[in-house]
């Protein structure tokens, strides 16, 4: 599949908009990194908890971290649409 094929299928932006939109993620990267590390750390804690209280703390923290990650991703989708429309207007 080529550039022309994608253009034909209306997948690409109009040519005048090429290069006009930022490619940086709209997700809050630092909180995301912290939450992902929390989820990974809780996984490790659950592993070493050997089925005792630390395991269950790990499971709960994992749930919370995962929920936080999903929330951040969801917000990033909304922000991305807003930014795109703003860039479109400016260009």
């Amino acid at each position: 599949m080529s550039l022309e094929d994608l253009q034909e299928q209306n997948i690409l932006l109009p040519e005048e908009e090429w290069g006009e939109h930022e490619l940086k993620t709209t997700i809050a990267e630092i909180p995301l990194a912290i939450l992902f590390l929390c989820a990974a750390a809780s996984w490790v804690a659950a592993y070493f908890g050997n089925g005792n209280w630390l395991t269950w703390v790990g499971v709960v923290v994992f749930f919370l971290s995962f929920f936080g990650i999903i929330l951040l991703c969801d917000r990033a989708v909304t922000k991305q649409r807003k930014r795109f429309k703003k860039e479109q207007k400016e260009s």
């Binding site: 599949m1 080529s2 550039l3 022309e4 094929d5 994608l6 299928q9 997948i11 690409l12 932006l13 090429w18 290069g19 006009e20 939109h21 490619l23 940086k24 993620t25 709209t26 997700i27 990267e29 995301l32 990194a33 992902f36 989820a39 990974a40 996984w43 659950a46 592993y47 908890g49 050997n50 089925g51 005792n52 395991t55 499971v59 994992f62 749930f63 995962f66 929920f67 990650i69 999903i70 991703c73 969801d74 990033a76 989708v77 909304t78 991305q80 649409r81 795109f84």
Partner: protein, 777 residues
């Protein structure tokens, strides 16, 4: 249902974020969790919880890629389409080939799961045998799997879609049953605190057990793919596809973890056996056996859930494996019969028969856990390809796409996903070597089919058409020299040179004219210029060639670019050398010698000679600066042709920089190496000692300047094309191109045919290095 090209319609966008999230949830909470939980518990122990949580994180990383690409390229092809777009060479074929296998083998797994669940139902009703065959016998289970597979092949032949109201009802029933299972289990656990002891020891089989269980259950997490595959039916896909991917994972992953907790925690084995061992022994019926203990009507409900899940999953995988092989047939990657559609049912019946056969074969020939392992490894490798593709797609098309979501920490996130998936797939070897052997066998077969069959057919689809051929010689072994001709004023020198080479090699000359048609017009437009091309270009060129008494044929092709026509001709007729002319100027600063010459130099699999100058008929002195023996061989061969025909004198030089800092011995070694590379040339110097003297060794700080000076003292300079690495080219340009730009006299730039491996490697490096999107040729 996918429709034939003649009946393509646009799908209506009526799925909102809630509906599409539920589609993803329904796809994930399915047969995987019902069939595999028992095996996974037996593999990881109570740490099954961690296997599910870990898979959640790994899946999330790939889900980010799906969210980004699904929002930017919301086409039904999904992963296959992206890999096709984002990866070079056989990857697109392999993605389809692997996807076909993964979905078919998943179908085998669900057929076997169904047969176990139905056997369990019969057992519950007190039926011990059917037609004299005990229901616990392997032949009964395999036979039942074949029967249910055949039923769904028949259903798919009639053209039943995998979605629709029935599918949604099944999803709701499955979720309710799993919900009841979790609620009942938690109630038991909180009322019998002793059950919390079931979780110690937590990792009886260590880290390996956890990783193996992650690999084994990975298939239960891949359902979010269907959200993207339904992308053409989603309202506001830029926003809703990524959101649905995330929310479906948020619903499913906690459910899986809770299922793991209650399966291990709420069961009472009534013996010294641990619950995870008990679940492992129950295998695909682990969840149903667990439900019997703590859930009202548990066995019945779980059996209903299991039967419904395996049936709907078998239907969906039969459907998708058929559509993948159908699409591959349509793309000419598989034989045409895969794309044949039944006129009455409008289903791809031969693709269905092939996929159904694969499903049945795997179900019969391989044990269920190895079937699951093979499907898991294949899905891991498929998603791994998607994670590589996202990096190249962002580089090539990033600034041209409308993204609904962008991956954070790009490209480290997809790289992390790739690494984790490789690790999990690696651990699967520990669980099932047979599963891995099957996967490796399938991929190897895919490579063989691609290089011996699919590649040629794929190429035939996009080759520039030949519209006129005259007296083409059919001798296979003849040396062929191709000369693209366009301007009669500049053709004479090319034809003289080409004829000299052809005569020396007892070969033939092929004169080709390419009619170019701009991108916005169909290629057929070019046909109106055939007569003009024949009368004004080809006939005149044939006349010029006549005097050389060399077998000559001619051909006219229609293409978007002359380079495409030349490359196609090289491949079609197994051309040995292309002779091209160069005006001596670059038209664009982005090209090295010119866009057509650059592309032919890069992609044509043959020797290439690029000539600059109008007069090559009176060459007295030839200057050949040599650097590498393999390259020098062809340069000297060409020089010797002039020597033979025009009694020219050849000066061979090897110019090195003082920075090389060779001692005398090393310098001598260099000369020896160069000599050895040229030793087989018949007309070469007689003795080794003489040969070493024939190559003049010069040391100069300015190599290019030195070559330019020597070039001005000769009638003709023959130089080799650049062979420095791409990084050097990027920062400094290449010496041959600098020389070509700075000299005025006659010049021949020579490039050797690359070996297949060298050529393939360079193509891959070029593909990943380039940020230029692929363009239609």
């Amino acid at each position: 249902m996918a429709e034939s090209p003649q009946h393509q319609t646009e799908l209506s966008r009526d799925l909102g974020v809630f509906t599409i999230t539920m589609v993803g949830v329904g796809a994930m909470i399915g047969a995987g969790i019902f069939v595999l939980t028992g095996y996974a518990a037996g593999t990881a122990g109570p740490a099954l919880i961690l296997a599910f949580a870990g898979n959640g994180l790994v899946t999330f990383l790939t889900a980010l890629a799906y969210a980004e690409l699904g929002s930017a390229i919301p086409e039904a092809g999904g992963g296959y389409l992206w890999v096709k777009e984002g990866l070079p060479g056989p990857n697109a074929f392999l993605a389809g080939w692997m996807s076909w296998f993964a979905h078919s083998v998943a179908g085998s797994l669900y057929a076997l799961g169904f047969s176990s669940y139905l056997g369990f139902v019969l057992h519950e009703f007190g039926i011990q045998s059917v037609a004299g065959i005990p229901i616990e016998a392997a032949i009964f289970q395999k036979g039942l799997a074949v029967a249910i597979a055949l039923i769904f092949i028949a259903i798919n032949f009639k053209g039943v879609s995998e979605t629709g109201i029935a599918g949604n009802i099944v999803t709701v029933i499955k979720v309710i049953i799993i919900g009841l299972f979790i609620a009942s289990g938690l109630w038991v656990m909180f009322n019998k605190p002793v059950n919390w002891g079931h979780f110690t020891p937590f990792t009886p089989k260590g880290f390996t057990g956890v990783m193996s269980a992650m690999g084994l259950t990975y298939i239960a997490f891949e359902g979010y793919e269907i959200i993207v595959q339904a992308g053409e039916e989603v309202k506001n896909p830029k926003k809703n596809i990524p959101r649905a991917v995330f929310w479906s994972l948020f619903i499913v992953i906690p459910i899986y973890i809770l299922v793991a907790i209650v399966a291990v925690g709420a069961v009472d084995t009534g013996s010294a056996q641990t619950t995870w061992q008990w679940l492992g022994d129950a295998g695909e019926l682990g969840l149903a056996e667990a439900a019997r203990q703590f859930m009202p009507l548990g066995t019945s409900l779980l059996l209903i859930g299991g039967l419904l899940s395996t049936m709907s999953a078998l239907n969906a995988t039969t459907f998708s494996s058929t559509r993948v092989s159908f699409a591959m047939g349509r793309d000419r990657n598989l034989p045409d019969f895969f794309a044949k559609i039944n006129e009455i049912t409008r289903t791809p019946y031969l693709a269905l028969i092939a996929s159904g056969s694969l499903i049945i074969f795997m179900a019969v020939a391989v044990p269920i856990e190895d079937v699951a392992a093979a499907a898991d490894v294949m899905f891991l490798l498929l998603f791994l390809q998607v994670n590589v593709a996202i990096i190249t797609i962002r580089r090539k098309y990033g600034d041209k796409l409308d993204y609904g979501f962008l991956i954070p920490f790009f490209p480290f996130t997809p790289i992390l996903a790739i690494v984790l998936m490789i690790v999990i797939a690696g651990y699967m070897f520990h669980f099932s070597p047979l599963g891995w052997y099957v996967v490796v066998g399938w991929i190897t077969t895919g490579f063989v089919i691609y290089y011996t069959y699919a590649k040629k057919r794929e190429r035939a689809k996009r080759v520039s058409p030949v519209v006129l051929e005259q007296s083409v010689y059919k001798e296979k072994e003849r040396f062929r020299v191709l000369i693209p001709v366009a301007n009669p004023k500049t053709s004479q020198a090319l034809i003289d040179f080409g004829a000299m080479v052809a005569k020396e090699k007892d070969g033939e000359l092929i004169l080709m004219n390419a009619i170019t048609v701009p991108q916005q017009s169909p290629l057929e437009v070019g046909r109106q210029y055939i007569k003009n091309a024949r009368d004004r270009v080809i006939d005149e060129a044939l006349e010029m060639a006549q005097k050389h008494d060399v077998p000559t044929s001619s051909v006219i092709r229609i293409a978007r670019k002359p380079a495409k026509a030349i490359i196609d001709e090289v491949e079609d007729r197994d051309i040995d050398m292309v002779v091209m002319g160069w005006q001596g100027k670059r038209r664009s600063p982005e090209t090295r010698l010119g866009s057509n010459i650059d592309q032919v130099m890069k992609d044509a699999d043959c020797d290439i000679a690029v000539l600059r100058g109008k007069e090559f008929s009176n060459v007295k002195n030839i200057f050949i600066p040599i650097a590498y023996p393999d390259q020098a061989h062809l340069m000297l061969e060409v020089g010797q042709m002039f020597e033979k025909e025009q009694q020219s004198n050849i000066d061979l030089y090897h110019i090195i920089s003082p920075r090389v800092n060779d001692d005398e011995e090393a310098k001598q070694r260099r000369l020896n190496d160069l000599y050895e590379g040229l030793a087989d040339l018949k007309a070469g110097p007689d003795s080794e000692e003489e040969a070493k003297h024939a190559i003049k060794l010069t040391v100069d700080t300015n190599i290019v300047g030195s070559i330019v000076d020597l070039s001005s003292q000769h009638d003709l300079t023959i130089i080799g094309a650049a062979r420095e690495g791409w990084f050097h080219k990027l920062i400094a340009g290449t010496k041959p191109e600098q020389i070509a730009q700075r000299t005025d006299g006659n010049l021949i730039l020579i490039k050797n045919r690359r070996t297949t491996i060298h050529s393939g490697l360079l193509d891959v490096i070029e593909f990943f290095r380039s940020s230029e999107p692929d363009r239609a040729q």
